[in-house]
């Protein structure tokens, strides 16, 4: 029985390397690009990112975008703690990564609150530079994530290499 359970967990963890259930926490202009990369033109389901579920406890990919103030930081921590482990985190855009478009708030926190970097709240796996990054960059961040979870040539690379020859 333990052998079966071990096999089952092995298979599940292998499947999860190429299958992500996203939970999107994004405000501002970057969220338009995230929505765009999930729609028909770019369609991230091709790369194994599933539909957004209704519950963070079922998701294992946290996508952060837009600027993070004190309240959003609390929310993000709350959601991250509930999510399925191992959780991958992608930070999208200069706001979430370093807060540089709101540099004035970093230098002098005001009534609008302060800007918090994503890496100070949760461990970030992939950074997508840009303001906003193109949907291609977001798609390539998912390819990078799969490369991180499973080092070595991916099925896509092997297949395209075989088709070229």
């Amino acid at each position: 029985m333990t052998w079966l359970t071990a096999r089952y967990e092995d298979v599940v963890s292998r499947l999860e390397q190429n299958h992500h259930f996203p939970w999107i926490m994004s405000v501002g202009c970057c969220s338009h690009e995230i929505q765009n990369s999930s729609l028909a033109t770019y369609d991230w389901q091709r790369l194994g990112v599933d539909d957004v579920s209704t519950d963070p406890t079922q998701s294992n990919l946290l996508i952060l975008g837009g600027w993070i103030n004190t309240e959003r930081a609390q929310e993000i921590k709350y959601v991250y703690d509930q999510m399925r482990k191992p959780t991958a985190v992608i930070a999208i855009g200069a706001c979430a990564i370093s807060g540089s478009p709101y540099k004035a708030l970093i230098d002098a926190p005001s009534v609008h609150g302060e800007v918090i970097k994503a890496e100070d709240i949760v461990p970030v796996d992939i950074y997508v530079a840009g303001c906003p990054p193109r949907p291609e960059s977001i798609l390539s961040s998912i390819l990078e994530l799969q490369k991180k979870l499973k080092p070595g040539p991916s099925h896509r690379e092997v297949l395209s290499e075989a088709l070229r020859n």
Binding site: S98, S100, Y127, A129, S140
Partner: protein
């Protein structure tokens, strides 16, 4: 408690509606399979979306004819940059006709907002916004782009030549 009573025999009447809806989906599927060229989905890593020439992607430092950097380390871009992500260290050049050149030119790509103001500020066409889309990378990789990456990365095939040349500049009195 109110219970909606549905007539028994008509319980299966939802089926034609569902099948009509499915016909639309299947029609689209067959159309897409037979007209692969007209499909709107871009197969990303193999296919690329064509961008216009003014697309603001990763920066390029242009080079002179002899392959050295065009930049004169005047610091205008670093002063103008709204995200304060450019850091330049200037040094004196051996050649007396060249005033200064940068020993190190670094752009913190995680702070950059790709606004293109550095390109507008530069008086000698030394920095440009390139056609490549922004990069995604695993945490812990190098996000501070140095001269090697900005001017001589493999995609540029040995550097992009600047439109303004030194001799031309001197003859025009710039």
């Amino acid at each position: 408690m109110s219970v909606v009573k549905r007539p028994e025999g008509k319980a299966n009447w939802y089926l034609p509606g569902i099948l009509t809806g499915m016909m639309i989906t299947i029609k689209h599927m067959i159309f897409n399979l037979t007209h692969r060229k007209q499909m709107i989905t871009i197969q990303y890593p193999e296919e690329r979306y064509p961008y216009s020439d003014r697309f603001k992607g990763n920066h390029i430092l242009t080079v002179k004819k002899d392959g050295s950097l065009r930049c004169t380390a005047c610091m205008l871009c670093a002063t103008y940059c709204p995200a304060e992500c450019i850091s330049i260290t200037a040094a004196e050049h051996d050649d007396p006709s060249v005033e200064k050149y940068p020993i190190s030119y670094e752009i913190d790509i995680l702070r950059c907002v790709f606004c293109g103001l550095c390109e507008e500020a530069c008086p000698v066409d030394a920095i440009r916004m390139g056609p490549e889309h922004q990069t995604a990378a695993i945490a812990g990789e190098n996000f501070i782009y140095d001269i090697n990456k900005l001017a001589y990365r493999s995609g540029l095939k040995g550097g992009v030549q600047s439109k303004v040349d030194d001799e031309e500049r001197h003859s025009r009195g710039l």
